[in-house]
């Protein structure tokens, strides 16, 4: 009995010691391989093609698009010709406005969607009544709600947040429900065997068991929230990055369109990364998974 019991203990200690070293080793290997250089080369190639088509050779059609030099010059200018750069507070106002909207909508969607999804998965009767409604509404693309959202809410602001919320809410609820359904029946049986009351089953089996799907759902939810937000802001916004894009188009301030697009991409990526990070923190058991 001693040998098998000593083995995993040893493994665990070994893992702790080697974790850092392994990382350093992998980093070294990575630097030595051609990969990082190819990645940089790929990005440079992209920038080069963009520069050459729009600014250097001014190819037909491409010449109308803002080129990288114009965009970066505007972006970093202390006195931007179209009024948006990293030195201008209005730029940050747009960013903050968009982030606030997403934050409100995403927060509300999570607060409502996760409990609803958990409950739908847990109580069959409740699900029988609510799921068909969900299924009827879900095929309608979220962005088709734009006019109705504006009509329903007295203020534009509420309409945009509602639209963003709606997309996030469906993604969160559905994934949470799928998460509960993904839990193997055997865990419920085991929990009952061990003398669980319903609340124990809910908090100690349903919630942790559904967590991986919930976080997948939250990531999707964050993605669609930004997706809908842009459409909402373009059609009905005052301030916000989507509005900035549309307004710059109307005002023929083309470099700003690209600045706003890149900013949107970066913030969207950062918010997904943040969710992944929190998910990894909450699901150590999943992250540390090794082949059995």
């Amino acid at each position: 009995m001693q040998i098998p019991s000593a083995k995993p203990k040893g493994d665990a200690v070994l893992a702790e010691i080697t974790n850092f070293e392994a990382m350093a080793f992998r980093l070294k290997q990575w630097i030595k391989s051609p990969r990082p250089y190819l990645m940089v080369a790929g990005l440079l190639l992209f920038l080069a093609v963009w520069y050459m088509t729009t600014e250097l050779f001014k190819l037909p059609r491409f010449e109308k698009l803002p080129g990288p030099v114009a965009v970066i010059r505007e972006w970093l200018s202390e006195d931007p010709s179209y009024g948006i750069s990293i030195y201008v507070s209005e730029y940050y106002l747009h960013i903050i406005k968009s982030m606030m909207r997403v934050f409100e909508a995403f927060g509300l969607a999570t607060l409502l969607g996760v409990p609803l999804g958990l409950f739908m998965g847990w109580k069959k009767v409740f699900r029988d009544y609510t799921f068909p409604i969900d299924e009827t509404l879900r095929p309608i693309p979220m962005l088709a709600w734009v006019p109705l959202a504006i009509l329903m809410w007295p203020a534009r602001e509420a309409a945009i947040v509602y639209l963003t919320f709606l997309a996030a809410f469906f993604a969160t609820t559905l994934n949470t429900l799928l998460g509960v359904e993904s839990i193997d029946e055997v865990y419920f049986r085991a929990a009952r065997c061990l003398g669980s009351k319903p609340r124990h089953i809910f908090f100690r089996v349903v919630v942790p068991g559904a967590l991986p799907y919930i976080f997948t759902g939250l990531q999707i939810s964050m993605g669609v929230a930004w997706f809908s937000l842009v459409a909402g802001e373009m059609l009905a916004g005052e301030y916000g990055l989507g509005y900035l894009i549309w307004n710059s188009f109307v005002m023929v301030q083309y470099p700003i369109i690209v600045i706003a697009m890149v900013t949107l991409g970066f913030i969207g990526w950062a918010s997904s990364a943040a969710i992944r990070f929190v998910g990894a923190l909450l699901m150590k058991w999943k992250v540390r998974e090794v082949s059995p």
Partner: protein
């Protein structure tokens, strides 16, 4: 005989019949099964796949009901056709593919039962769990997550998770099914140690005959569908047992006896299976 001096955990299964009726298909899973398991006995059920072994176990555990008959635990009826048993910590199941909660560490899994039942505070449960894990040589992995430990470890932790409770009978549903022979023999030794120490009734399902004789005090052979009890064989090999048993004359005789009883059923089950797929 192998009573261990236990006074609780006697199960009596009387004339139990179970008919599955999914959408009109009439399947007789258990047909008039009767079996008395005295307190503290290590009772092994063998039989071909689909003979209703797991159906019987599920009825005792409280996962589904029965169509007629009665199952009682220590003289108290727990499962009748009118009322299926309520799953509870006096009859804990070790599942075929394991059911340790992957979102908890080994320690958190083991303390689960006492904590949710409100029998112990978390600190007390940790102490009790630490003691049991120590006895089983598992203290080193207490803070590992389930995905980090081997399948053999998992089975032992699952047994520890059951034993930490105040249980009367341990129900084991082919726990070592998918294991290689070497791991299995370590598992067997471990289970025998646990049994010799704890004096609990064990209801063990398998279709590995050698395992059945090596571990069991009695081997119950079941027929293929409809599931009936075909033969009960007393394993009069003294405990504590070790690997020497496997080389003994008596072991070989018993194995032959069980083999003969099972062979016929296995063939019938195989032919039935062939027909099902045709």
């Amino acid at each position: 005989m192998s009573n261990n001096g236990s006074t609780v955990g006697s199960v009596s299964i009387r004339n139990v019949t179970k008919i599955f009726d999914p959408e009109g298909a009439h399947v007789l899973a258990l047909d008039n099964c009767s079996l008395e398991i005295p307190a503290g006995e290590f009772c092994v059920i063998v039989g071909p796949s689909g003979c209703g072994k797991t159906t019987l176990l599920n009825a005792i555990a409280g996962f589904h009901g029965i169509s007629s008959g009665e199952i009682s635990l220590d003289g108290v009826p727990i499962c009748t056709p009118e009322k299926m048993a309520e799953p509870g910590a006096d009859r804990i199941v070790v599942f075929q593919n394991g059911a340790l909660f992957p979102w908890y560490t080994v320690m958190e899994n083991v303390i689960y039962g006492p904590v949710v039942q409100g029998k112990m505070t978390e600190a007390e449960a940790r102490q009790a769990a630490g003691k049991i894990l120590g006895e089983m040589g598992l203290q080193g992995i207490a803070n590992c997550y389930i995905n980090e430990i081997s399948s053999g470890m998992r089975r032992r932790v699952e047994i520890a998770r059951a034993m930490v409770n105040d249980l009367k009978i341990l129900l084991m549903d082919e726990p070592y099914r998918a294991m290689d022979a070497l791991t299995k023999s370590v598992m067997h030794k471990h289970l025998l140690d646990v049994y010799d120490r704890a004096h609990k009734t064990i209801f063990f399902i398998t279709h590995d005959l050698e395992e059945a004789i090596y571990l069991g005090s009695r081997v119950v052979v079941m027929t293929t569908r409809p599931g009936r009890i075909k033969k009960v064989i007393d394993v009069d090999i003294p405990r504590p047992r070790d690997l020497q048993v496997l080389a003994s004359e008596r072991y070989r005789e018993l194995k032959m006896e069980v083999l003969e009883a099972v062979q016929e059923e296995a063939r019938k089950a195989f032919e039935a299976g062939e027909r099902e797929f045709a």
